[in-house]
Amino acid sequence: MKYVDEFRNAEIARAVSAEIASITDPGRHYKLMEVCGGHTHTIYRHGIKDLLPDQIELVHGPGCPVCVLPMGRVDDGIAVAERPEVIFTCFGDMMRVPGSKGNLLEIKAEGADIRMVYSPLDALRVARENPDREVVFYAIGFETTAPSTALTLQRAKKEGIGNFSVFCNHVTIVPPVRALLDSPDLRLDAFIGPGHVSTVIGCRPYEFMPADYGKPCVVAGFEPLDLLQSILMLMRQLDGGRCEVENQYSRIVPWEGNLAALKSMADVFELRPYFEWRGMGFIAQSALKLSEAYADFDAELRYSVPGVRVADPKACQCGEVLKGVLKPWECKVFGTACTPEHPLGTLMVSSEGACAAYYNFGRKSFEKVEIGTRQ
């Protein structure tokens, strides 16, 4: 297929790979973090790591909202879903995320009315079609997804649909990245910025990385050559002593973002003072809740959610993997107690989670571990 083939062209990939190798300092170790789970998926699926010199380490970041959702918020959602008057709606991947006493699929099997939707607008349609029931949408996602929730609530308000509410778990990308940069656990050299989040927020929000921390950032697309070119752009910056934000994905991402989407979000949401992230603890102003103007649609106000904080299972090391301190295969339960079929931690649930991506597509480093352990 034209363009897809070109963005996956092996000859060009080899040429980019050779150029990366030519400017890599053999005496230096480079740690590049891909913030977004979609990039993690592409890296493993297409074997990008195999095209890079050993000196370049790719560290997987916290950019998968399912993966960073703490167990207590899943339990809160389940508590609402169990109410007899409620039709509970959510995205498909959310159904399998484990809470402390099961997941939404299991609660559905026990009789709760839980429906998978593709869009929050579909949830609003369910509310229109069921005026005698209460319809709740479990909203989750970064700034890519938040505009669709905002638009849905604006339509609900305009149409005066009173039996619709949103349990809001939207998060924002910049505060956790800043928390990672402040963390003593991790020393990173540069960032591969999230492509589609940037479609909404633009590239300016990343300017703190070079300005405050001296770390370059390249906003990247999702085809294999997008990733390779972004890595090359980062390596050129590191090699040439430059430090700035660049936009490799300019065919999609405007530098200023989508102002209409940002305006819609500003109307519907406001920042929470703090929010808990799995493995990262509480991060200030890192999540969204509904604004005063939309308080009537706020499921957290409409229903009394338990709001209990639940610790992760002891064996689960999602937190360390999320922060890039551990590689997926270094987790004690990776591929044994925790698999995509029976996930123990969230990173194994979502197809964009680092553990699921590595389980499905990774190989090289796993072989190294096996060889290393066989004496």
């Binding site: 363009y3 040429a15 998968c64 989750i140 589609h196 050559l225 997008d226 999609i252 989508n258 819609s264």
Partner: protein, 89 residues
Amino acid sequence: MERETMAQASHCTLDHDGCVVCSDAGIPLRVLSIEGDDALCEDTIGNRTEIAVELVRPVAVGEVLLTHGGVAIGKAEKADKLPTEGRHQ
């Protein structure tokens, strides 16, 4: 706009979008017709769906939109360069 332009934007189609909540899955869709706030759109392999277009106005038939969760959040620019030719700001 040609179908190839859509394909370059992402590997996703409506029936294979990876993980919608990953929040960075975006699906490029071509606009077939527009009615009020919604547009009938088609992906690279012919799947069709209705997409809300308030956030990317003005929209014209034939344009390629980047969509997420049933809402258009951006537009795909027709690329005239390969990725190795330095497409960055």
